[in-house]
Amino acid sequence: MPEALESRLLPRHVHAETRDPATGEVTLTLHDAEVVLDPAAHAAWCALVQSLSAAGAPHGAAVPPPQAVDAFRAAGLLVDAGTLPRELDGAHFHAAYFQPLLQAWLAKAFSHSFWARMMEGRGSARLYAGWLFELYHYTRNANRHMPLAAAHCRNKPVKALLAQHYEEEWSHYHFFSRAARAMGFAAEEVTRSQPLPMTAEMADFMRQAARTDVLCYAACSAVLEGTTTDGSAYTPFYERMQSLYGVPEGAVKPIYDHLALDAQYQHADLFAEICRHEGTLTAERASRVLDFGHQMVEHIWLWTDEIERWYGDPARPMPRMPFDPRLD
């Protein structure tokens, strides 16, 4: 590791990089700022990040001089780990470390080209229906992780919150079943259909989080709930689906009903409340919680990717039926 970094300087997560073709300047997007680097500084930054994970001497990567490291720190690209708390209050963790990241995380989750494709008229009613099928499974699979989280929780007030959340959510898959049926699918086709691997993994990952730490679970849940709170983001989407692809009203109305119900329950605020009840967190625990939340963001991106590629291919069966020795 470079000598200049022995004080444990942490590189911050860069959410996006864009290069100006005219100047070669690269804009690094952090969750709270943008940093513009000229080509030489960007090369130095890449070398620095690479050197931090390299075995022994960095492989062909020139370590930036101390003044460059200082410049990166001043620009907010590096954080001195020594200045971070060793432990912190749950409410402070939520307000100061989780909540400020959430919008940038959601932007990353929805940065997949699928959304632009659908909004710009390059999608199809089939893609919309496929997305509905997967949302049906994703919502139905809440029954695989929400009660598990309550079962593994040992903190009474938190356990009660999780149980109540489950009580309010467990049957919401009916909204998506109704919407899929409005697209022309029989109720039995919806019920018997099989989720895509990444749809199933969304629930499996939540189960993994539930067995790991209730805060890891709640952070993932907060990311997922965060995707349903901004009406200004989702309303135009559903309007476009109707106007571009002839999606019937009946395949959209249940979604609005579901979103309205979620908003009424204020599920997006649940994580803050759970954090308050969990008291003091070690830095290690807080980091683990953030990492689970961020992995859920990455799950959403790859889930979207799979939905687009499966249902975007007209040769793929829809709905996806289970293997049947007689029929297959």
Binding site: A54, A55, L290
Partner: protein
């Protein structure tokens, strides 16, 4: 059902494809090709629009203008080859079950077919031809490490939840495999700091494969091993690699990505180790020891086998797609203050 029909619920198998060539019909299913003579081709061509609805023979005859006898003769012949399914109203109902050894052959036949898209995945050619990015190649090594290291998870869960008669197999399997992640880790250590390797989170698509195995292991020992056997088939040279594709892959990797030499060494060591452990015959032995499987169990286990192939494909897609869009390797976990 029409009273003149002896056969009902006539369907071409869902995975079967009908190819017409100069009036000659060919049905492709599970890698086999059934060629029909001129007369059979003519009837099948007329039947083809109706073979996914489960009609009886009289209805099909009425739709196509063929005789019931001609429809039934063709349907029986195609059912015999395995590309068609039907119900014979005079036959005793089949229970759909099979012996363990019959299941072994059945599973192998489908698994080999299902694995073809994995062998044909575009990622392999990208590496062989040098079109893969550095991040994709190193990302592949990392995800392979995560997957092999996760033997600790799914094999541990499998052993701890094993059906009594399968416990010795699953215990031995865990004990033989749990160190194998370190082989890949040593390969990665040639390029990366050990702490960075251990801290790197797997891709969600890799977790999907591991979580699927762990969840299956917790509830269905035999289904777990049947899924694991599919993965094992990809590690052995007879699993679709008769043309030396694995060697070509490593050669391409060496040529285009010279810094990956130690990674390749790790891959090869692990493949040889797995082959020397003689895992090839374990599933067959397990099947031999199984009591007769009921139809529902066959369906359930085959769904797990198909499920693991889908996740293996997602594993490959994830490497290909994610590391192309987000080329940072190794991936870093989120840490307090580094957001």
């Amino acid at each position: 059902m029409n009273p003149t029909s002896l056969l009902s619920d006539i369907r071409l198998k869902r995975g079967a494809a009908l190819v017409m060539n100069d009036g000659e019909a060919c049905v492709q299913h599970l890698g086999q090709e059934i060629l029909l003579d001129h007369a059979g081709s003519r009837v099948l061509r007329k039947l083809s629009p109706y073979l996914d609805k489960g009609h009886d023979s009289a209805t099909l005859a009425a739709y196509t203008g063929e005789t019931v006898a001609a429809v039934e003769a063709l349907a029986r012949a195609l059912e015999h080859t395995g590309v068609m399914t039907l119900h014979d109203t005079r036959a005793a109902p089949a229970d759909g079950g099979m012996s363990g050894l019959e299941f072994h052959a059945y599973h192998r036949r489908y698994a080999q077919h299902w694995l073809q898209p994995v062998y044909a995945h575009p990622f392999w050619a990208k590496v062989v031809e040098g079109r893969a990015t550095r991040a994709q190649v190193l990302g592949f090594a990392f995800e392979k490490y995560h997957y092999i290291e996760a033997a600790h998870e799914h094999m541990g869960v499998a052993a701890a939840n094993a059906r009594p008669e399968l416990m010795p197999h699953l215990a031995r399997h865990f004990i033989e495999e749990y160190r194998h992640g370190d082989i890949y880790r040593r390969g990665l250590q040639s390029l990366f700091d050990d702490a960075a390797i251990l801290a790197a989170p797997p891709l969600p698509t890799t977790r999907a494969l591991v979580n699927f195995l762990s969840e299956t292991a917790a509830v269905d020992s035999f289904g777990y091993y049947a899924a694991n056997e599919v993965l094992q088939m990809t590690e052995n040279s007879d699993g679709g690699d008769d043309d030396g594709a694995v060697d070509a892959f490593y050669a391409g990797m060496r040529r285009h990505y010279p810094e990956s030499a130690k990674l390749i060494e790790a891959f090869v060591i692990h493949t040889k180790l797995d082959q020397n452990l003689g895992h090839d015959g374990v599933f067959e032995q397990m099947c031999r020891d199984m009591p007769r499987l009921a139809a529902a169990e066959v369906a359930s286990v085959m769904n797990r086998a198909r499920g693991v192939v889908e996740r293996l494909l997602a594993f490959m897609d994830g490497i290909d797609r994610w590391y192309e869009a987000f080329p940072q390797v190794p991936r870093r976990p989120y840490a307090l203050g580094a957001g």
